[in-house]
């Protein structure tokens, strides 16, 4: 595959992010190209969800540039940002379904808000997406009546109902059994192939990452360790990546005195 001819969809350069005084991300640079599945991997607390929030424009970075479809989102006003977001779908970790609406109404909402289609057409389009996620029989259930896996799939249905160019998926497999999470992985691959989407997945699940990814970015403690395709990641000699691949806790050498001080501090 000749990758150089493909368009860059998301271009992150030198991103630094803070929560208060705490630096969460330092100098992240990332290019995501058309029609690829980019998996952002890292432990819990590594900053991967923060990276996602910044790319979505939910948080603004302290410094750095984030371009989506050639638009610099760090300086966009919120109307322009909303215009851009119509081309983006986001599936949140817990689905983030509106609890006052049933499943079908939840999925219909973006169409009601952004299109002038009539009610029947909207209903058909929403049902198509629910069928695709295998939720066709549950459309009249409320979010509180759904299981975790169903909520994730419902969130995915709502994220793709506008047929976005870019799809973000936060932790598709967190908290799911292996079979359900494998089904979600298949769904993600299908979406990329059938709907020509560029997909960014944030996960800490090795297995699912290696199943779906075209390229993988590994983040640890807010620093980007490497970005590459599956083989490059597997062949990496960085100890942190080797640890991650072998599911081994990092063996940091600790000074005995420091450790004692840490335990006895006030």
């Amino acid at each position: 595959m000749n990758e150089t001819s493909k368009k860059t969809i998301i271009d992150v350069k030198g991103l630094n992010a803070f929560y208060g005084d705490r630096q969460i991300l330092s100098d992240i640079s990332l290019e995501i190209i058309e029609n690829e599945i980019m998996v952002i991997m890292g432990h819990s607390g590594s900053g991967k969800s923060t990276l996602l929030r910044h790319v979505l424009g939910l948080n603004r970075p302290v410094s750095g540039s984030i371009k989506i479809l050639d638009q610099e989102i760090t300086t966009l006003d919120h109307y322009a940002l909303y215009e851009l977001r119509k081309k983006i779908g986001v599936a949140f970790q817990n689905g983030a379904m509106f609890s006052s609406m049933n499943l079908l109404e939840n999925v219909e909402l973006p169409l009601h808000e952004h299109t002038r289609l009539d009610k029947n057409t909207i209903r058909i389009m929403a049902r198509l997406k629910l069928e695709l996620m295998d939720l066709g029989d549950n459309e009249s259930l409320m979010p509180s009546e759904l299981s975790g896996g169903m909520l994730k799939r419902a969130g995915l249905a709502r994220a793709v109902v506008m047929d976005p160019n870019i799809l973000f998926f936060d932790e598709p497999s967190a908290g799911l059994d292996p079979v359900t999470s494998a089904e979600l992985d298949d769904l993600i691959l299908q979406l990329r192939d059938a709907m020509n989407m560029t997909i960014v997945v944030v996960t800490h699940e090795l297995e699912s990452a290696f199943k779906i990814a075209d390229r993988i970015t590994v983040i640890d403690k807010g620093k980007q360790i490497m970005t590459g395709n599956k083989e490059e990641i597997k062949d990496s000699d960085d100890p942190r990546i080797i640890n991650m691949l072998q599911r081994r806790a990092a063996n940091e050498t600790i000074n005995a005195d420091d450790y004692l001080n840490k335990l006895t501090r006030n």
Binding site: L56, L58, E83, F98, R158
Partner: protein, 262 residues
């Protein structure tokens, strides 16, 4: 001493910034209220929530408040031998003070707290982020119908409260204590001026705005709380804060408006 001073200054600094945020919140909500497209369905939903479903509480509260002030005024007026003034005493106190203030306090307990908790949970559960990511402006979709519904329904509920209260007073004064029905109403219509009604009405308008504004702003901006309390504990805390703050804001602005209009 020095740490106390910096703590004090940082608190002032934080509160001013927080006030600014609330101001921006109100500005953006109003901007959305006056820009098309107008959302009718969410507005009706909120009118039903704040207005229609508070009706029973308001009627019951209005009845008892009217009854108790008639009882108290009767007891006082008897000592001065001016029982015929009962109608105007009940009418004036309900229309000018008790009606707007007590209705507002009831609505805070019934709708304001629920609204604050709902928005707070939407924030914790990422539902507000999801709205933003779907390019749906939360100010338009969540808050403009709520503010509008508050401004419409609180004055109407206040009017109902006052009317029911006047009849509660009638029941105690006329039926129980035998004040003549003619003098009860005649006296009331003689003493209650347009200015009194305007005062009651403008108070209830401001209260309706304050209740919804404080409840929604507290919920929406809960993630910016400097104590960094989030999750279910955060929701319970901001809900309490919203109830306390809006009650105080109601009583404070009640004095302010009375002083301004009188």
């Amino acid at each position: 001493m020095d740490t106390a001073k910096t703590l004090f200054l940082s608190t002032i600094d934080y509160q001013i910034k927080r006030l600014g945020l609330s101001g921006i919140f109100l500005y953006r909500t109003f901007y959305q209220i006056f820009t098309p497209p107008y959302l009718l369905e969410p507005l009706l939903k909120q009118l039903a929530f704040i207005g229609a479903r508070s009706l029973l509480v308001i009627v019951v509260a209005g009845l008892f408040v009217g009854m108790v002030i008639a009882l108290q005024f009767y007891d006082t007026l008897v000592r001065f031998g001016s029982v015929s003034l009962l109608g105007s005493a009940v009418g004036l106190s309900l229309i000018r003070e008790l009606g707007p203030v007590l209705t507002a306090l009831m609505i805070i307990g019934r709708a304001g707290s629920a609204m604050c908790a709902e928005i707070g949970i939407m924030r914790v559960d990422n539902q507000i982020d999801a709205l933003e990511c779907m390019a749906i402006d939360p100010y338009r979709y969540l808050f403009s119908p709520r503010i509008l519904a508050g401004v419409i329904s609180v004055p109407l509920l206040t009017a109902i409260f006052i009317v029911v209260g006047i009849f509660g007073g009638y029941f105690v004064g006329v039926i129980l204590f035998g004040v003549s029905p003619g003098s009860y109403f005649q006296n009331m219509s003689d003493t209650v001026l347009n200015r009194d009604i305007i005062m009651g009405f403008s108070k209830s308008l401001v209260f309706g705005l304050l209740i919804v504004w404080i409840a929604c702003d507290k919920g929406f901006n809960m993630h910016l709380d400097r104590r960094g309390i989030y999750g279910s504990e955060g929701v319970s805390r901001i809900t309490t804060e919203a109830v306390v703050l809006s009650s105080i804001a109601i009583l404070f602005s009640d004095y302010l408006l009375s002083a301004l209009i009188l």
